[in-house]
Structures are given as C-alpha cells and as structure tokens.
Amino acid sequence: MQQFWTTLLGGLTLGAVYAAFALALCLIWRSTRVVNFAQAPMAMVTTYVGLEVIDSTGSYWLGFVVALAAGLVLGAVVERGLVRFVEGKSDLNVVILTLGLFVVLHSLAAIVFGQDYKSFPAPFSLQGLHVGGHNLAITGFGVFTLIAVAVVFVLLVALFRFTDLGLKMRASAFSPEVARLLGVRVGKMLTLGWALAAVVGSLAGLLVAGGSLVFPQFMDSVVVYGFVAAVLGGLDSPAGSVVGGLVLGLALSFVSGYAASDLVPITALGILVLVLLVRPGGLFSHVAERRV
C-alpha cells in the first residue's frame, strides 16, 4: 500500500511538471499555430537567470519572480525578433527556426553559465510530509508544484474565457484577418501569446530544477515527455494539456514503480503511438470543421 501511494503521488508531481510544459506548448499553438521546439532551452535559460539572482541575493522567491519575468521578456523577444519573420510562410520554416533556436540557446547557455552542474535550491522541504504520525510520499516542494500548476491553469482559463484580452488573443489566433478588421492589434496579441507561454515554460523549468541540479541540458528529459503530454491532451486544449500531463506522469510513475524504470521511455512512446492511432487530435480534441 505504501508503495502505491508513493507511486501515485510521485506520478502526480511529475505529471504536474509535464502539464506545465504542455500548457506552454499549447499556449503558443493556440495563439500562433506553431510548435515551439525551443520551449525547453528557453526555460533552461530563464532558470539560469533565476539561479543567478538566487545566488547573489539569497532569496529564492526573488529569483523565482525574476525567472518568470525573464520568461515574459524572452518570449516576447523571440516572437518579435525571430518568429515574426517567418510567420505566414511555410510551416516548415518556423519548425526549423525553433529547432535552430534550441541548439543556439544550448550553446549560449554553456558559454555564459558554464557546463558545470549547479545545485538549485527548493523553497520547501524535500522530505516527505508527516501527517498524524504517517509518512506521506509527497514532499513540500511536490505540494507546491501541484498548487503552482493548478493556479497557472486556472488563471489561463480565466484569461481566455472571461477577459476581453483573452477573447482578442483567441480571435487573433483563429482568424487574424477578421480580427484586424475588428480593430484587434493581432501582432501584439501574438507577441503576448509567446510571452505568456514562455512564462509558463519558465515555471516548468523552475519546478524541474527545484532541489535538483541545473546544467544546460537539464530540461531535455522533460522535453520529450512534455511533448507527449501535449499531444496526448490535444495541442489545442489547456485542460487537455493538464490532464495529458497528469495521465502521463501517473502512467510512467506506475510503470517505473511496478515494472522497471527502463520501460519508461518505451511506455511514453507506446502511449504516443496509441493516441495518434486512436485519436490523432488528442483526447480533448473536439472536431471543429473549418471551411477555408
């Protein structure tokens, strides 16, 4: 029984990180129809920025806020400075661009921050919580991870569903020309979409790094699973991203806990293939035909 709970809670925490990563992918997909392959290295860079602040000020929370703010700026800069030039061109151009950015950011980080492993502090205990004499298998930082992802998800849903800004962002994504005719500054909305996505990506970076080691490739382990989570949920749906992340986290955790940890990558691949075969649009896709 103890193992079951350990596996379950570990899977949820892991899943929450995948969910955050998938949410960031989903945000960019929704606002610009681009899959951002550079999501992980962008998060890696902002995490390094956060670490620098933590190291020099000693305050985790200041570093946390600075890392998120750095994400906002980096996302906007990448859209304005790079993606803007290939928008409206062939889909492949932007794929190549983000893949190129992936490589460039990795190398830049290695040059600027070094190849060494650096430890990243956690704001909460990394020991299992004690409740009424029982040892729970979830750490304080794990609880923080779950809450942070839930808060981000709720904020994003509220933004898209209830605010004028969210409405304009959706309109810009679905139908840029019509949105322009209605007075929406589509370019600004796209920049904002990238900026917000990079903030969520930064959060994923901070959650992966917390209490662990940071090095230029530290996000790479999350990339693959984050993508699988996003595809699992359907790239278009924020709720799908979160559920996809959690389902994947649980599945991988149970495979690793009850079978063998060597089977984790192949399980992820199996899930990906299965989803693409059965529901290519993802679990949360609703078939909305679009006449052009």
Binding site: L167, R170, F174, S175, E177, V178, L182, G183, A288, R290
Partner: protein, 234 residues
C-alpha cells in the same frame, strides 16, 4: 463622406483596380456591381487598408486613409463586413459580437448585445453556440451584427447575398435599408447580385476589369437595358 480617388491596386503583375474613383455619399446606399474579377472585393480591401493601393487615395471627410492600418478603421467609424464566412467559427455567437464591440468608433457609446438580438432574433437563440454550426444566412446576420457592435458610420459590405436563399437575401437587404433610413448609416455595398443590390441602393457604380464603366442613380442603372445585358447579367 467616403471617397476613393484614382485608386490603382496591383497584385504583382495583375492590375485589380486601374484608376477607380467613386463616392459613397453620407446616409445613402452605394452599390458597386460587377462580375467575378471586376475588382469589387479588392476595392473594399483597399479602402479598409488590408491591401495598399499603388496609386490614388482613400479619403474620409477630407482625411487621407491610404496609409491608415486596418486596425484603426473601426475607431474611425468604418466597419468592413467580410463575406459570411468572416465569422470566427471557433468562437460563440456572443463572443463574436462582443469582439465587434471592443474597438468601437471613438466617442461612441457601447452597443448593447440586445440591440443586435433585436435586429436578428435568431442570433439570440444561438448566442452560446459556436459560430461554425450557423447556417449561411445566420453567419451573414452575425457578421453584420458584429460590425454594428462597433457603432460604425460607414459599412463596407462584401457580397452579403453570396450563397444565400433569395428570401434571406431580401430580408437582410431590407434590414440594411431600414438601418440607413433610421440611423443615417452610410453603406458601400459590393454585389454580384445586381438586381437585389439596386433594389435598395440610391446610387450604383459598375466595375468591369478594374475600371468604372457606369455610375448613376440606381433606378437609371436598373432601367438601362444595354448596360444590364453587358455587365449585370439580368
């Protein structure tokens, strides 16, 4: 008053508009007629700034709009109503309408959703449905209603009759006419369906291959048999 002066618009080597001049007098319906490829849609797209003219000007009350970006048109009181497929199919009816009111004419009071629902009761029944389930006629009502949410003074309408049943066309055009009479709206109506358009228009302009070939009062154009046969097909 909206006017275009010697407008030339080219797509690469193709000249879509070859020196078009026309006026849309205030409080009137001006119909722009012509077959496919006459340059009608390009004319509207050039006026609203989606396409830049190579030569000539678009003038609103003496102000040159040729360099004004399309995003600023609604604030100036110009609403471009694209063809019926210009609904944003992924948004609900109410969201489409709300979006239309976000950047309304500078100084205008917000337009109540209920006003649009009063004009198009069928939209109220469907207010929470996504727009992709709407019929062609309902989509056309939605794009017009959405444009009205911006409290425009000038409506640019692109082929509102396209693909619609004659009864629905008559209903929509009659409603436009009544908006012109009650609110002093100015309408520039681009149509292939010349008979319907002339029935509600004050003036008509006939375009052929990017040039104005006739411009007169609507009744006179409708009565000119030669012109009708040559360009209007009725």
């Amino acid at each position: 008053m909206l006017a275009v002066e010697d407008l030339v618009t080219r797509y690469g080597a193709v000249t879509a508009l070859g020196g078009v001049s026309l006026e849309a007098p205030e409080g009137q319906v001006t119909a722009v007629l012509g077959a496919n490829g006459a340059g009608k849609t390009t004319l509207l797209r050039t006026i609203s700034g989606l396409v830049r003219p190579n030569e000539g000007r678009v003038v609103l009350d003496g102000k040159d709009l040729s360099r004004t970006p399309p995003e600023e048109m609604t604030a100036l009181g110009i609403a471009h109503v694209p063809e019926g497929r210009g609904v944003i199919a992924e948004l609900t009816v109410a969201e489409n309408l709300r979006l239309g009111g976000l950047h309304r004419r500078a100084g205008a009071d917000p337009v109540d959703l209920d006003r649009v629902f009063g004009l198009f009761p069928v939209l109220e029944e469907r207010r929470n449905a996504t727009a992709h389930v709407l019929s062609g006629g309902e989509r056309q009502m939605l794009v017009i209603g959405r444009a009205l949410m911006a409290a425009p003074r000038i409506l640019l309408l692109d082929e509102p009759s396209l693909g619609l049943a004659p009864r629905v066309v008559a209903q929509i055009l009659a409603l436009l006419r009544s908006l012109v009479e009650t609110e002093g709206l100015t309408v520039l109506l681009v149509e292939q369906n010349a008979a319907s358009a002339l029935s509600i228009a004050d003036r008509g302009v006939v375009l052929n291959l990017g040039s104005v070939v006739a411009s007169d009062q609507a009744e006179k154009l409708a009565a000119d048999e030669k012109l009708r046969h040559a360009y209007l097909g009725f």
